[in-house]
C-alpha cells in the first residue's frame, strides 16, 4: 500500500505559538485546498483552533488563496499580519 500523499504546513510567529508547532506534515487527498488544510490543523492541534478563519497564506513561498489547490509535496504557510519595517 502507498504511503498517503502529504504536504508540509509552516506556521510563523504568533500562529506557531498558538498551535505549539511551526512545521507539521499533513495528509492530503484529491481536491484538498488550503482551507481544508487549515481545517485539518484545527482538528489535529488544539491550539490551532485559535487561528483566524481566513489568515494570509502561501503555497511554495508565494502568496495564495484559501481556495487554491494543494498538491503532494507542496509547502503551505499560514502568516500572521505582517509586521516588518
Amino acid at each position: 500500500m502507498d504511503t498517503p500523499a502529504r504536504a508540509t504546513v509552516l506556521l510563523f510567529a504568533r500562529y506557531a505559538e498558538l498551535a505549539g508547532a511551526d512545521r507539521v506534515e499533513v495528509p492530503i487527498g484529491p481536491g484538498t485546498d488550503v482551507r481544508r488544510v487549515l481545517q485539518g490543523l484545527r482538528d489535529e492541534l488544539p491550539g490551532a483552533a485559535a487561528l483566524p478563519e481566513a489568515p494570509l497564506c502561501a503555497i511554495n513561498h508565494q502568496q495564495a488563496r484559501l481556495s487554491d489547490a494543494v498538491r503532494p509535496g507542496d509547502i503551505v504557510a499560514f502568516l500572521p499580519p505582517l509586521a516588518g519595517g
Binding site: F12, E17, H61, G84
Partner: protein, 141 residues
C-alpha cells in the same frame, strides 16, 4: 539588490552599491527600533521571517521599483534581536534626479512593510512581551 541579514545593517554600504557616475541623487531610508510604540516603552524587538518568501518578496519589490523609475535600488531587513536605536530596515535608491530617488525609496519602504513576511515581538519596559499586529496598532498611532 534585496536581502535579509542577521547582522547590523549598513545603509552607507547600500547607498554605495547603488551609486554611479550618472546617478546624482541618492535617497535613503533607515528604520530603527524606537523606544516607544503605541504609548508603551519598548526595550527590545525580535524579528523573524518566512525566509525564502521574504527574500523573494524583497527582490520582487526592488525589481518593481527599478522598472517603474530609472533608478538602482538596494534594500535589506534585519532579523533577530534588536535594541532601541538598532537599524531594522534600510533602503537606498539612486537616480539621475532627486524626484525618482525619493519616489522609489518611499515606494520600496511602503511595499516592504506591506508585503514582506516578517514579524516582530516587542519586549516592553514593564517586562511583558507581545507580537506586533499592525492591523490592531494603526488606530492607536
Amino acid at each position: 539588490m534585496g536581502f535579509l541579514s542577521e547582522h547590523p545593517l549598513d545603509v552607507g554600504a547600500l547607498a554605495a552599491a547603488v551609486a554611479g557616475p550618472g546617478r546624482g541623487g541618492t535617497c535613503t531610508f533607515l528604520g530603527a527600533v524606537r523606544d516607544h510604540h503605541a504609548g508603551r516603552g519598548v526595550v527590545e524587538l525580535e524579528y523573524s521571517a518566512y525566509g525564502p518568501m521574504a527574500e523573494a518578496t524583497i527582490g520582487a519589490i526592488v525589481a518593481e521599483a527599478e522598472r517603474r523609475w530609472p533608478v538602482r535600488v538596494a534594500a535589506a531587513h534585519r532579523l533577530g534581536r534588536l535594541a532601541v536605536g538598532d537599524a531594522a530596515v534600510a533602503v537606498a535608491a539612486a537616480g539621475a534626479h532627486r524626484e525618482e530617488a525619493f519616489a522609489a525609496c518611499r515606494f520600496v519602504i511602503e511595499e516592504l512593510k506591506r508585503r514582506v513576511p516578517i514579524w516582530k515581538r516587542e519586549r516592553f519596559a514593564d517586562g511583558t512581551e507581545a507580537w506586533v499586529d499592525p492591523t490592531a496598532v494603526e488606530a492607536s498611532r
